[in-house]
């Protein structure tokens, strides 16, 4: 049996069309990445979703559905409280938001670590993985952490307010639990996240500025300049608020 070009062309197309259409009918064809993580195949946690399979493309909503963790906890833990719809935040957005850091990485693996400890599931984080202080606070409140897990978290805790690369200037930023609120001073490069971390609420901030709060990582002076106002006009009010919180 001999074949010519005029035979090959339709056969090539037919293979692909029939193959793709057939698998579509069988619900096997997908050009989207699955949003359900793999499950543990054996052992104590067999059948449960494995946090190590959380992908960068997973949204907070995907993670919330799979692991039954409230989206609010995820948003708060990773500094997305001011986002209108935290459901659509993707794990990989952390890297884009906080950038690469000298002291480690805050990204998808940080979410895996948070989820694993939140649910009490086994997980070995990558060497440079960091976790926000707020996330640690939530874990301490809602998870049954072992001493070993507490030690791991302590070594990897970082304050979100310290994550802007332009402000770190190469200094080691990993926070320690010895930091006290007494050291907090309002400066031009203080960020909204630092205010939130300190305990000032979004409402209090917006009341002082008289307009919606900026992004968590935004410096107060930048925010003021971008909105056509002087930072110094608000500094005194913020300092007074900080002082009242210290008491």
């Amino acid at each position: 049996m001999k074949l010519k070009s005029k035979h090959i062309a339709p056969m090539v197309l037919a293979f692909f069309i029939i193959g793709i259409a057939g698998t579509m009918l069988l619900n096997l064809w997908s050009t989207e990445l699955g949003k359900v993580p793999a499950q543990y195949q054996s052992g104590e946690f067999e059948g449960e979703y494995d946090p190590s399979d959380i992908r960068g493309s997973y949204t907070f909503e995907d993670i919330s559905k799979a692991f039954e963790i409230p989206v609010e906890d995820l948003a708060k833990a990773f500094g997305f409280t001011d986002t209108p719809d935290p459901n659509i935040i993707k794990a990989k957005d952390l890297e884009e938001t906080y950038g690469s850091l000298e002291q480690g990485e805050l990204g998808t693996d940080s979410i895996r670590l948070f989820v694993a400890f939140y649910k009490g599931l086994p997980f070995m984080a990558e060497e440079k993985t960091l976790i926000p202080r707020l996330a640690v606070s939530i874990l301490k409140e809602k998870a049954n952490l072992t001493e070993e897990q507490k030690t791991i978290l302590k070594e990897r805790t970082i304050s979100l307010s310290e994550l802007r690369p332009s402000e770190t200037e190469g200094e080691a930023q990993v926070a320690t639990e010895h930091e006290t609120t007494e050291e907090f001073v309002i400066k031009g490069n203080t960020t909204f996240q630092e205010l939130l971390d300190f305990g000032i609420t979004q409402e209090e901030i917006e009341k002082i500025f008289g307009m919606p709060m900026g992004k968590p990582g935004e410096a107060l002076r930048d925010y003021a300049t971008n909105n056509g106002v002087e930072f110094s006009e608000f500094k005194a009010a913020l300092e007074a608020l900080v002082a009242s919180k210290k008491q």
Binding site: L3, K4, S5, I20
Partner: protein, 278 residues
């Protein structure tokens, strides 16, 4: 025997697949940017539309039952469709479908205009013969590194990805450099990447040893003019044997009596025994 009529069937198929992938890639970019997309057309990522994604995840799939990161079910299915197609007709995927192969081929026409008969014959046969096995080293390296890391580590080096994503800003510099090197090489060597670097071509090339339809030469009617060999973009010596079992054949059919061979029914894509003229 006589002058052959030009046949553009393969070119049309190549243009179709090249345009399809290009438009889907643009659609994907639009979707990523939250802009309105081209209706009735997929906005899948390039990773979802490459059968090689299936190849690199074979190990992970059989060990853990899941795909490596960024690999989709569609890649897995396209791999099996391509394998089936190749088992029957040989690597027609390379010769007819692959947009990157087509791109090199079209670019190579410039080199053909410039260098004429010297084109595609710059590398000495002795050296070229061994360089052809480089793509197997590339294949083994990619499969191995992917298996131990669970990530598509070659993504940054993938010139095919760069070709259809250079406008996104997501391509790595090393990938851009590799693409430029391949484009430059295409001016001297036809399908340089296919010959020396393509890991998917390496896999599909193995099918040449047991494919159902093969390129066969009728040694009794052959006039030994060498037209088949001269026209082979992969520099295969079609005129020295009966059935082409070379791992580099891409079933482009340029050597056949339909195209280069001046004698009818002498070089054919066929199955079964070649009838010997009495």
């Amino acid at each position: 025997m006589g002058k052959k009529k030009s046949d553009y069937t393969r070119l049309y198929v190549q243009i179709f697949f090249f345009a399809l992938i290009a438009v889907i890639s643009i659609n994907h970019t639009l979707a990523e940017q939250g802009k309105s997309t081209i209706p009735f057309l997929s906005s899948a990522s390039l990773h979802a539309l490459c059968p090689f994604g299936g190849v690199v995840t074979i190990y992970e799939y059989f060990v853990s039952g899941r795909f490596i990161k960024k690999i989709h079910e569609s890649s897995w299915i396209l791999m099996w469709i391509t394998f089936a197609l190749t088992l029957v007709f040989g690597p027609v995927f390379c010769g007819w479908v692959c947009p990157f192969g087509a791109f090199q081929e079209w670019f190579g026409k410039i080199g053909k205009k410039i260098f004429r008969k010297r084109y595609n014959h710059f590398i000495p046969y002795g050296l070229d013969r061994w360089l052809r096995y480089l793509r197997y080293i590339v294949l083994v390296w990619i499969v191995y590194v992917t298996a131990i890391t669970g990530k598509i580590v070659f993504a940054d080096y993938d010139p095919y990805f760069v070709l259809f994503n250079f406008w996104t800003g997501e391509v790595a510099l090393i990938g851009v450099i590799l693409l430029l090197v391949i484009i430059s090489m295409s001016l001297f060597v036809e399908r340089a990447f296919c010959k020396y670097g393509c890991p998917l071509g390496a896999v599909l090339g193995i099918f040449n040893f047991f494919r159902i339809f093969s390129i066969k030469r009728n040694t009794t009617t052959c006039i030994d003019c060498g037209a088949c060999t001269r026209n082979c973009p992969m520099n295969i010596h079609v005129d020295t044997g009966g059935t082409v079992r070379n791992h580099q054949c891409i079933t482009c059919m340029q050597c056949t009596s339909e195209h280069a061979c001046p004698v009818d029914d002498t070089v054919e894509l066929m199955t079964g025994r070649m009838e010997v003229a009495k």
